[in-house]
Each structure stands twice: as C-alpha cells, then as structure tokens.
Symmetry: C2
Subunit: 427 residues, 2 copies
Amino acid sequence: MTSPSTALLTDHYELTMLSSALRDGTADRPCVFEVFARRLPDGRRYGVVAGTGRLLAAIEAFRFGEAELSQLAAAGVVDREALDWLADYEFTGEVDGYPEGELYFPGSPILTVRAPFAAGVVLETLALSVLNHDSAIASAAARMVTAANGRRMIEMGSRRTHEEAAVACARAAYLAGFTATSNLEAGRRWGIPTAGTSAHAFTLLHDSEAAAFRAQVDKLGAGTTLLVDTYDITQGIATAVQVAGPELGAVRIDSGDVGPLARQAREQLDSLGARNTKIVVSGDLDEFAIAALRAEPVDAYGVGTSLVTGSGAPTAGMVYKLVEVDGRPVAKRSSHKESRGGRKGALRRYKQTGTAVEEVVYQAGARPQPGEHDRELQIPLLRAGQQVDGLPTIEQSRDRLRQALVSVPWEGLKLSHGEPAIPTVFG
Amino acid sequence: MTSPSTALLTDHYELTMLSSALRDGTADRPCVFEVFARRLPDGRRYGVVAGTGRLLAAIEAFRFGEAELSQLAAAGVVDREALDWLADYEFTGEVDGYPEGELYFPGSPILTVRAPFAAGVVLETLALSVLNHDSAIASAAARMVTAANGRRMIEMGSRRTHEEAAVACARAAYLAGFTATSNLEAGRRWGIPTAGTSAHAFTLLHDSEAAAFRAQVDKLGAGTTLLVDTYDITQGIATAVQVAGPELGAVRIDSGDVGPLARQAREQLDSLGARNTKIVVSGDLDEFAIAALRAEPVDAYGVGTSLVTGSGAPTAGMVYKLVEVDGRPVAKRSSHKESRGGRKGALRRYKQTGTAVEEVVYQAGARPQPGEHDRELQIPLLRAGQQVDGLPTIEQSRDRLRQALVSVPWEGLKLSHGEPAIPTVFG
C-alpha cells in the first residue's frame, strides 16, 4: 500500500499559528496537548475509543513533500521560513493514550501529545478527524452489538457515507464486535471478513425469481443466502428451498415488519425441512430495532445507515487542547467551555467483583496511590515519533472492548438515555 | 495527483452478483439503473445534488489492477472467470443526471446509468457513497447559506468528520455558497479558498494575550482576525485594537452567547475607532442559530460540526435501483419500498414569474410536451464511459444552486419542518 501524505488534511490556522510562532520564538516551547470529550453524546452512557491505530499511521504519513509545499506556497498560506520548517517536519514527540476498544467518559484523557508547540499543533485536525469519526461509529456499534446479544452482525452501510469513511466505519464496527462487513476495501486494508451475496437487482435481472436463485446457488452453493423479498416473501421462501434444497444457508428479509416476518419465515422453513437455514434481517435497523427483535427467530442482522451515521451521534465531539506550556498548566477561561490545565493521567477504579466504579483523571505529577482494583488507562503509543512495539491488534482491541463492557454497571448498558455509566472524578 | 483505484470501495455482494450473472449469461443484458431518493430527510423542503463531479472521476478510477485482483482472489470473493472479467473492466456505458447544484425532490432521477448488468451493478456502492454524502452536506449547507442572508460563511468542520470526508464536505459547502474552508487539502484538490488565523492554543502558548496578538499581527498584518475570547472578551478586544490599531481586520468570538456578545463587541470596536473591524462568530452554529443572529452585527460565520454532520441529516438516503432490463421496466413489489420501473426523465415546471411549480418525472419513452416555462433536468455526463465536454465547474454549480433557490416558492426556503417545496408528479 502506498502512503500518500496526510499533511494537508489540516486546518489552515494550524499553519498560520506555526508561522507566527516561528517568528517570535515560541514555536519550540515544550507543550502538552490533550484529546478529550467534554461530554458524551446526548444520553449516551459510555464512549468507545477507536481510530488510534489509523491515527498513528496517519501521523507517520504527515510529511510535507514537494507537492504539499508548492501548494502552500502558491496559495500563500505561509512564508518561506515556515515552508522550510515544514519541509523538515517529522513528528518526533511522545504520544500516550487510551488503547482502542477502551471505554471513555467525560474528561477522559484519550490522547496526550508531548512535543514542541509547532510540532504538536499541526496534528490537531488530523487527530480529531480520525478519533471523532471512528469513536462515534464504534460507540454506536457497541450498543448494537450489546442489543444483538451474541447474534451475528454484518456491517453494510458503505453506501450511506463517504467512500473512505465507509472503510473506517467497517473497521470501527468490527472493533466493536460486528462479525463482518460488506466493504471490500476494509477486507484488503484491515483484514476484516467480508460478506454479501445478492441484491434485489439480481432477482429483477432474471426472467423469474427461481432463475435468479438457481444462478446464485449454481455459483455460490446451497450454503448461500438468498434474498427472498423481491416479490412475495412466502413464495420467495418456497422457491428458495425448492431451488437450494433444505441445506439452504440462509434467507434474507430486507423490508417490511421483520419481526412477524421472521417468525413466519422460521415456521415456513421448518415446515419445509430447512431447519438449519438461518434468517438474516436488514433494512433500517438500529440498536433499538435490534433489541426489539431479541425474542424473534433472527440469526443475523445487517446494519447500514444507523451504523455509519453513529445512530444519532455522528461525531464524538472530542477536542484537542493545549494543556501545558513549559511545564505550567494552561487553560481557556472565558466561558462554560473551560478546560482543566495540566498534563493528566487516568485510572479506572473497580469493585472487587470487577464492576467499574469511577474514572479518576489526575494531574500527571500527582498520581493517586493505585488501589488493588485500579487500572491505569493510558498506554505509550509513540516514542520519539516511532510506534511502540507490541501495540494492540484489531483483534486484541475487540477483546478489550468485550471485557470492558462486561465491567460496566448494568444500568450503563441500557439503551435508554441516561447519565454516564460511571462518574469522572478529577483528582 | 495520483488516482488510486476506487474498485474495492464496493460491497462484496456486487461481485458475487457479477460472478453468478457471468455464469448464467445474464451479465450482458442491457440495463438501466437509477439513483433517486424515496423521500427527503424528515421535514426538509428540498435537497441539493452534489458529488457528481467527484463521482465521475471515481468511475474513471474504478479499475481492477493486480493489487485489487490478488486481494479478491486471496479472499475468495470471486472465481477466476470473474477475476478475468474484472481485469478488463472499464466503464464504457452512458450516464445522465442532474447537474451539481440542482435541487432534487422525492423521486427525482438524480442519476441514470445505462450499461450491461455487470458493468452497471458494480458501481452501486461507489455512486451512492459519493452522492449520499456530498448531497447531504450540500443540502444542509444551502439552508445555512440562506439563513446567513449574504454574510460570509467559513466551513471549519474538518475535525468533526473522517479526514477524507472532510475534504468532500469543504467542496460541498463551497458548492452550496460557503465563502471559504479551513481545509487545506480542499484548497489543493478543488481550488477552494482556504482561511484561518489562530486558535486558543496560540494565545495560551504566549506569556500574555498581548504577546500572542503581537506575534500574529507581526506575521499576518493588521488585517488578520484575532481570537478574543481566551480570557475576558472585553479585555481581549481592547488588547486586540491596542496591538493591531483600528485597522484590525476582524475579531473572532468562539464561545458564549454570541448574539449579545457581538453587539457589545461592535459597540466597543466602534468606540475604539475600529469601525471597519469585522466580527466573526463560531462555535456550535447551525442554520437555526445563524438565522437567530440575523439582526446582530455579525459579519461572518464559522460553521463546523453541524455542517459536516448534515445538521441532523448526515446521509441523503438515495438508492441505486435496477429499473429496466432488456428494455422492459422492472421493480421490486413486496412492500412499501416499491420503486417505479422504467428509465425516466424529469423536467421542472415554472410559473411565468420564474417560480417553480412541480417536478415532473416521466417515462423516458413518454416525455410530455414541454411547456414554455419547463426546464429539462438531466444532462449527459458520460458517453461511452468518457466525460462529456463542458461539464459544469464548481463555480458554475454554485451559480446554478443560487439561481435554483431563487426559483423556490417562498415557503420552500423556511427552515422549519414542512413538505417538499414543490410536489413530484409522476407522468
């Protein structure tokens, strides 16, 4: 895979700040920047960190080559002094953060960047774009996975979001526990299992539904999933079993009131001897619809729009704030948007039973004595700009989230609006 | 600019359909696919077509090279026959559609693709990803531009969406009438004006607000925009004028109740002799907040989150449907999700005064006699797979939308929830 430069995925003002700071000598002041969310999306009880793996690769690709520099010169964004600085730019600072798949709460220090001002400020937009997008999707996905209660989940929302965002959505959904994605590029780029068989168009292409099913079964085998709702569902199921035999892998229902339809389909399949044929439902499902289908004989869910739009919360609202300059805490003070200055760490307190109790966010210089059941939350990510050895794989992040969700107090897993599952305590 | 392949930005099932259709000989049947929206997002009165320009380039880059083919082979998505077909794939069909900047309504045939089944079906996901995303953003942006009533609009939402979606958002916002974007890559890729000066971090970096302002003015000149709300706004404005003089370009307020704050700022600036200093406001603005500020002395708006999330409607909900096979209309029939079969055209009817009256969607073979004030809506986009000469530029699309909005009945421009501005009539 080529790594095109990510350097211009940046807001104009970062480079004008750089330019002004180079001029007056403040560009080299040692700084600490912190990524956190002031609050969770309305009514949400936890957030899921995702995107860190993508971000670290994007930081490595944050280099200004000839193409980027000549564009900045031509557009008059910055002057020669800044261009020279950018030409040599390579991030060599330190980054710590919550690993992917970790839960976060209001004020959790999700990412901490230590670098001279100029080196750190230019990463603001890129860091936030990646983390805000991927975490929003993973947070919604985790609720859906919880609602599905162990049933298979297939992400199929690519068509409802930007074509590159779609690839990141597939990754975030998988990290959150989805089984597979429809997105082929996510298969290539991230090794995520892909799935899919046919759309209504394939049935409509053929002279009859039976001919379409026959073509598909001939090619993909009887274990395939046949889409049975192009015309009449009962007839569609009958035809499907007739063509594929009782070894038919699955039927998919993509429209209508899927609860009763799934029940009817199950009865019909059983009566036809297709007792092992699975039922896949799709079409405008979100975590609430998935939960409502819990008592129905559904084997797998296909989820699209609601996943890629964060099910009502399409962005995570994280900010990237300067919290320390030359070792002293700094913070904006003019309004409700106040921040807490100073470099911070975080640990999560647990009961002896393993249930999480609170998120403790502390000043880096004043780490509380960790209790027996406390867990430190940040891990080292970049040292001297290089990825630390042994960073979690996507599979490990998936496991991490699965375990983290088990530790949440039971109210915290409710889908209804509520307070964060555990309070954040600023120590 | 390099053109990496877009071929895997595709759902798995498109290639399994291809594979099955190659097997039974239906792959070459002449087909017509249509992109349309069954409805507008809840309460919206019009949609704005955007993304077509990006899509045409993405179709040109939809080629399966060695990297793509070996991935598909390794993952077992399709067999050798399909791989061979994909290796030779290049879209050579015909595409017509609504030009960018055109309004659309429920059922408008936004894009019509004529090609053999296999050649057309593989473009479904890519076409929808691009059009659903960009049209959602442009539709929200147009409402904001209307609400701003001629004042400058700066798009600064990159940090709230996927890093590549951000570039497309900047493009869609500009197309809809925004003045500039913060996104540097949008400047490079699409020639969109970029803007930005400084963030709170720049003030916090310095020993005093005055030192920060001095550094910025020294570098960017007195015509720059100073961010005055890091500490106390009144003091910030006094310091800004002291440092830059009454020629100060603008002050930016990013927090608090910006209406009263803008009024106070205007009075203070005037009293300091800075009568030409502009006031820029930003921070959680959407079309409603922008409209509410109409009576305030605001000169420009910076809009972020609400723009890139489509202000409540992050996707346009368009679908890509097979409507014709071998010259006969086809349509799904099992539910409320019914579609109208057959290739279609569309024209918009206007009163003599230039006000739009209705959207007429007709069967391609039965075009109604166009009246004196009717306007045909689709234009040719691709012929034998090649972009038609003289396709609209972004500037022309911007003009098209401006004119289209003037033609909408006045109720259609209200921000409140309501019916589509004009009805769609199926002729």
